[in-house]
């Protein structure tokens, strides 16, 4: 279990969940949300994680260092709604040990 990290995710109802996420399964943040069913099926990860739908948009609340935003993620965010300065796409954030203590809030469905 040493490979698991702890993440706080606030769902779209405003409820915060502290969850354990494995770092050795090539999972991303969107998939962690789905695996704990923190958002209804069909409302998150619609494109499957290609940075092509923004259904996994979240706001990063902690000052955790995240992987740098890539062109396709930035392009998708520029077309999404409810975007803030701390918006990221969960599908583009791979779960690594560096993310221990990450806190995010899911953006509204759109």
């Amino acid at each position: 279990m040493e490979q698991d990290i702890s993440i706080k995710i606030t769902d779209r109802e405003g409820v915060t969940h502290e969850v354990l996420a494995p770092t050795d399964m090539a999972m991303n943040l969107m998939e962690v949300v789905r695996s704990y069913e923190l958002a209804p099926e069909g409302t998150i990860g619609i494109c499957g994680g290609m940075a092509m739908c923004a259904s996994c948009q979240c706001y990063v609340l902690s000052d955790t260092t995240l992987p740098e935003i890539q062109d396709d993620e930035e392009a998708m965010l520029s077309e999404a709604f409810y975007v803030k300065d701390n918006s990221r796409l969960g599908c583009q954030i791979r779960i690594t040990p560096d993310l221990e203590g990450l806190e995010v809030e899911l953006a509204p469905e759109s």
Binding site: E41, G42, C47, C53, D72, E74, A75, E79, Y82
Partner: protein
Amino acid sequence: MIKTDILIIGAGPTGLFAVFEAGLLKLKCHLIDALPQAGGQCSEIYPKKPIYDIPGFPEILAGDLTNNLLEQCKQFEPGFTLGERAETIEKQEDGSFVVTTNKGTKHQAPVVAIAGGLGSFEPRKPLIDNITFFEDKGVEYFIKDPEVYRNKRVVISGGGDSALDWSIFLSKVASEVTLIHRRNEFRGALDSVEKVQELKNKGKIKLITPAEVINVVGHDKVEAVVVSQAEHIQKEFEIECDHFIPLFGLSPKLGPIANWGLEIEKNAIKVNNALDYQTNIPGIFAIGDVNTYPGKLKLILCGFHEATLMCQAAYQIINPGKKYVLKYTTVSGVDGFDGTRKEAPKQVVKSIN
């Protein structure tokens, strides 16, 4: 009234493959899809992305898979009602179903197979308070008939392929095309981006970036949009126009199917996976990503299998008591409804002297 054997709701990979499997059993299919083209997500969201887990294809682009499936089922002459969403279903006295779309098109079939994926794709509407008031009064989320825009002033917003491609196309038709995007960068095929650049340089497309439409102005139809631009200093201004076309992609919604009396769990339709993928309503099946059962995997390859078993059950409903044995296409060939026949070449039997 369009009449068929199996009415398939959703023209994605699962629905298209069902046409082929039904055809082998001499059953005709008609498909309804809310999108204007076949292929579902494969053609709408990721046509140029590769898929690696279609059996027999180490790598295939989603758009090519769609084309292949259309090619594979074409001799069974499927009918299509595209750009319309299945709205209501009514069971008839003879046990068949009548499905009516949002445009009022009626379809009748003894078997209905819902292959609706994550649902019908609805446009993502920008967060502008009064936008719904102007829908069909100058605000459109799809371009169905480009002629509507002839000699009109059009404002398009969005930064993806569809915003680029329609700006290019309408620059030949409309009197004025303005493209508005939140950033200076666009994401699309390289030649589309370059073409827009060229048309901008020629003055055929007016480009406003980084900017956003924040309001629609007009009495009973669109007369102008309010634009907020954030270059150097923040400023707001109006652009007079006849049409405003926001192109921010589509998001799937289960929609009216949710009210058909089907058992639904986690935005998916519960089916009997031990047998035939039938729902709680006999005669209505659900196949592909739209269904759920213990151990369900939302994979195209699973949809193919589900479609195949569904067709066998549909055959029994449509031809009660009729004998049937499974045939291999290699042995029996494929007889199309269009009179074509595909078959394995005969073996050469010849003596060697």
